[in-house]
Amino acid sequence: MKLARLGLAAVLVALSCAVARADTALLNVSYDPTREFYRDFNAAFAQAWKAESGETVQVRMSHGGSGRQSRSVIDGLEADVVTLALGYDIDAIADIRGALPADWQTRLPNESSPYTSTIVFLVRKGNPKAIRDWGDLAKPGIGVVTPNPKTSGGARWNFLAAWAWAEDAFGRDEAKVRAYMTALFKNVPVLDTGARGSTTTFVKRGIGDVLLAWENEAHLALRELGPDAFEIVAPSMSILAQPPVAVVDANVDKHGTRKAAQAYLDFLYAPEGQRLAARHYYRPIHPEHAAKDDVARFPELRLVTLKDRFGDWRATQKRFFDDGGIFDQIFATR
């Protein structure tokens, strides 16, 4: 009896907590390395939204590997906005669940990417293995840490950046490019499911000589875990990674949160959002709004874009990362 009463009391407490919430609650389903950025951004947005509309808004976050997060939204996770690592993961929500229109990426400026990033190398202090460029990664005896492209968005950018470099280096001879990629993945001791997992593997567990990382993730790891233990190497070229954002129409219409969700994404493009993105090591698309010191941290790199080199994400996903695609072929023969 006592137990039953206790259980009932606990349920009531939980329910009353659920009721005593802000005017509007938004759920932002995001990928791994954006945790620190959105913590600051959500606070700034709540303030701005209060000033503009008088409403109190609370933004909840869910983080994980981009592909896995996309899967959760398809399975019914009630995201008002998704801010994922690459376009394909939002394409999947549009294609499989029909929760937003197929042309979602045209609804916001810069292909719906308010900030961009790229892929750089994080190496141990003093760069003892002398890793300078993509070619060094395929040399025997180098341990390369990257997450699994099947589940991680960052890992797919890693893969495409290496592929693009090899295409240039070997005159687009696909056999040679494949041989290079096979040698590279022979050097990968462990494939984590997400970018943050790989960082932990490299930094905390001390595995590998080089981590292929989002630029923002590399800077963050450097700041949080040891400027004396690691350094960042910028390769001769890399890929322009465009992490897109979108309102999930089916969910905001159900929750009645479309206005706030739209304002939330617009705020990413506003001066304050751009400034915060740069502070958290994302490359803002309007650098004039960011602090000069923050922008100065980004090295000048030759960046190829997905569109110019590989086409759209649906085609790229099918060619490289779907079952039986080039990644599977390379990984099987390594």
Binding site: L3, A14, C17, L27, S72, D75, G76, R97
Partner: protein
Amino acid sequence: MSLLSPRRAHAVAEAPAVRFLLLGLALAAVALFLLLPLGVVFAEAFARGWAAFAEGVADPDARAAIRLTLLVAAISVSVNLVFGVAAAWAVTKFDFPGKSVLVTLIDLPFSVSPVIAGLIYVLLFGAHGLIGPWLIAHGVEVIFAVPGIVLATMFVTLPFVARELIPTMEMLGRGDEEAARTLGASGWQIFFRVTLPNVKWAALYGVLLCNARAMGEFGAVSVVSGHLRGLTNTMPLHIEILYNEYNFVAAFAVASLLALMALVTLALKSGLEALGGK
């Protein structure tokens, strides 16, 4: 013969060296695999002093995770207690076709990986699941919400109470109940006056084991939770998130709290054993 007999008197009288060696090995194993990791959890939790520890535990998201863990444990333990008693009663007091199948099924959650347990519920209650679309259309959230977490926890903890009760009740037999019946007791009277007092220690023991597992479950809950901070994060999930955010002190602070809750459960269990004192 007579020379050997004094030593034969102690059936386990090994040479002292052997005894110390065995004892030393056992103690070393316990220290290495149990005490040391547990010590590390607490050491890391207090690595930056009390203030940092308190900050990690008092964070609103951490408190929400603690509340949710207690809520989930309370619900799943009470439901499993009712189920366990009913199942054990049915299995030991009656004969019916399919009895052995039922006993095997009760053990199923022990052999199924928790991840699969979680995925089953996604397949059932997800937006593309069997009954998920209907529930969602009627505004009932199961997956990525508290009900899903409770269901997944109930699945993995299902066997604990029944598994404790069945052997006890089998050992006790049906004699007491049959005697009560011949004296004119009703079914409920027999249950509350005869059966329950006989098995209360076994039931409590099962409840404590069930509680320990319910609080600590990670795999199944991780699949159905959606990881919404302050909403659907239980303590184990919250610990993983903090660790992934390089927030090691807070991660280990919550971890040490979870370990402490498990230790209290364990202490209660030992206390009960002493009380039940065979």
